[in-house]
């Protein structure tokens, strides 16, 4: 049986509920948008149900630490092919086992969950580092990003704490949504007909006058602080992979 769900995490949890309820093992679990019709496999489209999702979540919470539960969500955000089946096996193992299995790294699913979580955490950390705000004419600090994984909502706590007294906006141009802080709370936003500058950058027209200057100074600083005698481009690229360059003023 192939289980198909909408793109939500609750939808995924509902699938888990229904698998246990129907007692029909999944051949695959996929998001609607990723689903490739196939002639032979039986399939079932699951309707997201908050109640069912909540029951699965509270069941998992009894078996894993909060850290472990959050890990499942982070893995799911990775959007990797086959991540749902891996998570299903992981959750089944957690539910079946008498003790917390989070650290059983000789189990290949447990190890993979920990490795995917590590990847997501690294991406979050990278975004904490690589987000570059540009001040707009109306005083909002705006940034566009295109992270490897769908982490934009996980960035909210860090930036909210750090920039309490400035309005800011971080937009994932790959997934077409973002977060905006209005000095009191962070909200999810989706822009219709957004006009980007060049390759998905904030339009120069809306930027504050001073912006050019600070970018120039930052570039000058970046250049001056490098030591030529120690040049090590390989190491440089390891830390700042090329795919992140287009949003970094110092690398453009």
């Amino acid at each position: 049986m192939i289980y198909i769900y909408d793109d939500s995490f609750d939808g995924f949890l509902t699938v888990i509920f229904d698998i246990y309820d129907l007692k029909i093992q999944p051949a695959d679990i996929c998001r609607e948008r990723n689903h490739q019709p196939s002639l032979f496999a039986e399939k079932r489209t699951i309707i997201t149900d908050g109640h069912k999702a909540g029951r699965v979540l509270s069941g998992i919470k009894k078996k894993l630490s909060l850290h472990g539960v959050h890990g499942i969500y982070k893995c799911w955000l990775s959007e990797q092919v086959g991540i749902e089946m891996m998570l299903f096996r992981y959750i089944s193992y957690a539910i079946k086992s008498k003790r917390n299995i989070e650290n059983d790294f000789s189990d290949s699913d447990v190890l993979e969950v920990s490795q995917v979580v590590k990847k997501i955490n690294r991406e979050i950390h990278r975004m904490h580092a690589f987000v570059r705000f540009q001040k707009t004419r109306d005083g909002v600090y705006a940034a566009t990003i295109a992270p490897d994984f769908d982490v934009v909502t996980l960035l909210a706590p860090h930036f909210k704490e750090r920039y309490k007294s400035q309005q800011w906006f971080i937009y994932d141009t790959k997934r077409q949504y973002g977060i905006y802080y209005d000095l009191s709370e962070v909200v999810e936003v989706k822009l219709e007909n957004a006009q980007w500058q060049g390759r998905n950058k904030v339009s120069r027209l809306v930027l504050a006058e001073e912006e050019k200057e600070f970018e120039l100074w930052w570039k000058s600083y970046f250049k001056a602080t490098s030591i030529e005698e120690r040049a090590n481009i390989k190491l440089h690229l390891k830390h700042v992979p090329r795919r992140y360059w287009r949003y970094l003023p110092e690398k453009v």
Binding site: H128, R162, W218, S226, R230, H239
Partner: protein
């Protein structure tokens, strides 16, 4: 002639870059009163230079005018370089605006010495104070303490900065005298020891009272220049070990000497000793995170680190009687001594082996560097007799591997 901010940045960031410390970690300043910023316990590197070093703080000299003539320093009096000085407001504005754009974690401020140590340090502190009090800035601030600085001035520095540092620069007093005639080690140790006492007092009070006044919560660090003077790795690492145990430093930085100077008091190096510097950092990590005693890494018989292999490997090859280590039984201390096994792997091994016996495949997947570890571990499913136990054979095998890796680069 009046310099633009851009020109000043180019001169004063360039002159500051030889101070390698860039850490923004180890302090946990909260964003209070709706201010700007906070510090991250683990630190954040916002960018990396093309030499692969982290850019975390806006690292500047307030000025590169200097009354001293230290041979190793690019800003020495006798060196013919363009000079510049920032105003207090310029540094404050750059810091705030770079911070608001998420370019940096904070400010690292040092300076050439004008007039005297106190006069210079007071100017640096004024900037930190303005940032903290007028601008409610809660990002990271690292201030340099100039040797010879008075206690009153240091006292104030500790109130506003997260981290303070006094640089030893040259690892021995004798070499320092030759290279920097106006400096001596005691003028560095005096402020350093004062800061050690104040920081530990602060830490004690912090444990007792929630609202004890802060004093450099990120601790202090120092820097040693490597390769500008004849000290061995034995000298350098024993010095570092003392700095960690007696002065309670958070970090000792090693800076491979870059031939910036044609001053005849210094050796003529073609390239900076980068591999040696890297080995020193590895040794430093062994002391701080792996439970190694300094004498296990360098001692009277082995005064220099082996440049061809990491110091843990060369320790293991000298101590073959301690290996192989049984992965499923050994305690943490011994696991940490296996070449190719890092702290994270050790943590995972200890957790995972409570569930089941670990084999060769598990270790590989966990992230152990088996090419190095294989000679030093005992795992189920792998007969011991396949493993070389002759240190010379292991050396040859490792060198051959190294060569293969290098060839594939081209």
């Amino acid at each position: 002639m009046k310099l633009s901010i851009n020109e000043k940045l180019q001169i004063l960031a360039d002159a500051a870059k030889y101070d390698v410390s860039c850490a923004s970690s180890g302090s946990n300043r909260k964003n209070t009163n709706n201010g700007l910023g906070n510090t991250s316990q683990m630190g954040i590197c916002h960018s990396y230079t093309e030499d692969g070093r982290c850019v975390s703080l806006l690292k500047l000299l307030l000025t590169n005018y200097c009354i001293y003539d230290c041979a190793y320093c690019v800003s020495r009096k006798s060196n013919d370089v363009p000079r510049a000085a920032f105003t207090v407001k310029e540094v404050v504005d750059l810091t705030i605006n770079f911070y608001k754009r998420n370019y940096i974690e904070g400010l690292f401020l040092s300076s050439g010495i004008f007039k005297n140590a106190d006069y210079t340090n007071e100017r640096l502190i004024r900037i930190a104070k303005l940032l903290r009090t007028e601008h409610n800035f809660n990002g990271y601030i690292h201030l340099k303490i100039i040797p010879g600085c008075s206690e009153e001035v240091m006292e104030e520095a500790g109130l506003y900065a997260d981290r303070l540092s006094v640089n030893l620069e040259i690892p021995s007093e004798r070499s320092l005298k030759k290279i920097a005639p106006e400096k001596n080690h005691s003028s560095v140790y005096k402020p350093m020891n004062y800061l050690t006492n104040r920081i530990s007092l602060y830490n004690d009070e912090k444990r007792k009272f929630k609202y004890a006044p802060r004093f450099a919560p990120g601790g202090q660090s120092t820097q040693l220049v490597i390769g500008a003077s004849p000290e061995t790795d034995f000298d350098v690492l024993h010095l570092a070990n003392n700095l960690y145990s007696d002065q309670k430093l958070r970090r000792v930085y090693y800076s491979g000497y870059i031939p910036i100077s044609d001053d005849n008091r210094l050796p003529a190096l073609k390239t900076p000793p980068l591999i040696r510097e890297n080995r020193l950092y590895q040794a430093d990590w062994l002391m701080r995170y792996y439970g190694f005693e300094v004498n296990e890494i360098v001692n009277e018989q082995h005064q220099q680190l082996d440049l061809t292999m990491d110091p843990k490997m060369s320790y293991a090859l000298r101590n073959m009687h301690l290996f192989p280590v049984n992965i499923n039984m050994a305690d943490r201390e011994m696991l940490l001594r296996i070449p190719g096994v890092g702290v994270k792997s050790v943590n995972m091994i200890i957790k995972a082996r409570r569930f089941s016996r670990l084999g060769y495949e598990h270790l590989k997947k966990i992230g152990v560097a088996m090419n190095r570890a294989q000679y030093f571990i005992e795992v189920s499913g792998r007969p011991l007799n396949e493993v070389a136990s002759d240190p010379d054979k292991i050396k040859i095998a490792l060198a051959a591997r190294e060569k293969r890796n290098q060839l594939t680069l081209f």
